[in-house]
């Protein structure tokens, strides 16, 4: 498991406070993050690999201070964005998976090995030489996940991984997340996906509205929305 410890973490954007003094310790293997649109979920998870830095407070991930060791943190934490279109940066699937590995200075044949292993693990070996542009939404989401996995992180952060998917692909992603060895923090509006987790945190107006087991968190969240 990957320990995440927030100590009075705030994020300000100009004059507005997006996240307000969050204090939280997470060590579960599956954590769901719920909350209304604009409540600060994406900002919260972007903190976890230094895409957003705290403007106040301290955030430790796997014993590392994110503000000081951002590159070391990014080696341990991969990020799967909501829209795979904007996260896949190379035109061919195989090349995209190689990108994160080349950034680590890995040798060519090791890159080829790792890429093939991960594609097989997700059941998309047949997509290796396909043009990204021609893939379906579900295939793109699997490729984005493969690219996140291939670098061997201990934690994978997902920002609404099933939002753009049809039922079949959504179930597939849900199964993959359920089975994978890596830890996961998952922002989602998909309550079933949240129920699969061990813990759920509800963000409300930049604060922690509820924190506990998913069933109770969902009840609290649903109650608030009705």
């Amino acid at each position: 498991m990957t320990d995440i410890v927030l100590d009075n973490v705030s994020v300000k954007r100009g004059a507005s406070i997006v996240l307000d003094s969050l204090t939280l310790a997470l060590s579960e293997r599956r954590v769901a993050v719920l909350g209304a649109n604009g409540s600060g979920k994406t900002t919260f998870v972007k903190l976890l690999n230094g895409l957003v830095l705290p403007t106040a407070g301290r955030l430790m991930v796997a014993g590392l201070d994110v503000a000081r060791d951002v590159h070391a943190v990014r080696r341990r934490v991969s990020f799967v964005f909501q829209n795979p279109d904007n996260q896949i940066v190379f035109p061919i699937v195989r090349e995209d998976l190689a990108f994160g590995l080349r950034n680590r200075g890995m040798a060519k044949d090791e890159i080829a090995d790792r890429t093939a292993t991960v594609l097989a693990r997700l059941g998309i070996a047949h997509l290796a030489d396909r043009q990204v542009h021609g893939l379906s939404g579900g295939e793109k989401q699997l490729v984005a996940l493969a690219a996140a996995m291939v670098t061997g992180p201990s934690l994978i952060v997902f920002d609404e991984p099933t939002t753009h998917l049809d039922l079949r692909n959504r179930n597939r992603i849900r199964a993959v997340i359920g089975e994978m060895a890596e830890d996961a923090v998952i922002v989602t509006h998909d309550l079933e996906l949240a129920r699969d987790c061990e813990r759920a945190v509800v963000i409300a107006d930049g604060r922690i509205g509820f924190d506990g087991c998913p069933a109770a968190a969902i009840d609290w969240y649903v109650g608030r929305c009705s």
Binding site: R74, R75, N86, V89, E95, N103, H133
Partner: protein, 213 residues
């Protein structure tokens, strides 16, 4: 289906090494700006069109990829016609068309991975001198190849959406939403590139380098 810039094939153009094609493209690009006279520029455009035809890629798919660029070239042509003279406008038209078709000939016949390797290898002396960052240039090339088809796709969607609402096709009405949408995407893409460790110290880096911010 737009998208496949690379057209698999086995023409002589496919077999020329990527580095040679890119070198030729670079030289041709420079040469096109050495003259302003219409005759050689027209000859260059015709030659580029012949090369493009020799790639064996279907004309329909080539045209689909060229269409949006053609729109921009047409705008530049019109602007020159309005603010300069017909000779200049024709020369500019030929120069840009030659450049675009030559560049397309290269992308249509060369795999991205081959192209990137050639770019990074070609720039490595400049990299050692600290004048250019080969990895960054390589990434820029890859991003262009990855997102040009995507942007064409957006262009079509916006055009269709406006047609559906009865808005007559006007370049400005399409360009503005297109730019806004792609700026938003660019922000996300930049974050994704950061998240994936681009520019981070590599495993082989010395401890000193490793601690550089």
């Amino acid at each position: 289906m737009i998208g496949s810039l690379y057209h698999p094939g086995d023409t002589p153009l496919h077999r020329i090494p990527a580095a040679a094609k890119l070198g030729f493209l670079f030289a041709a690009g420079l040469a096109l700006f050495l003259t302003d006279s219409p005759a050689p520029l027209a000859a260059a455009a015709a030659a580029a069109a012949l090369l493009l035809a020799a790639t064996g890629a279907p004309a329909r798919s080539l045209w689909r990829q060229l269409r949006a660029v053609a729109l921009i070239i047409a705008l530049v042509f019109a602007a020159n016609l309005a603010f300069a003279d017909a000779g200049t406008a024709f020369a500019v038209l030929c120069r840009l068309s030659a450049l675009v078709m030559a560049a397309m000939t290269v992308t249509v016949t060369t795999r991205t991975s081959d192209m990137l390797e050639a770019v990074e290898r070609g720039l490595s002396p400049l990299g050692r001198m600290g004048l250019a960052n080969p990895a960054k240039v390589g990434l820029a090339v890859a991003l262009t190849l990855r997102f040009v088809p995507e942007i064409f796709g957006h262009y079509r969607e916006i055009r269709d959406a406006q047609a559906a609402r009865g808005i007559a096709a006007s370049p400005l009405a399409i360009l503005v939403p297109l730019v806004v949408r792609n700026l938003k995407a660019a922000e996300d893409i930049a974050a994704a590139i950061d998240a994936r460790g681009f520019g981070a110290p590599r495993d082989g880096a010395s401890p000193k380098e490793r601690h550089r911010p």
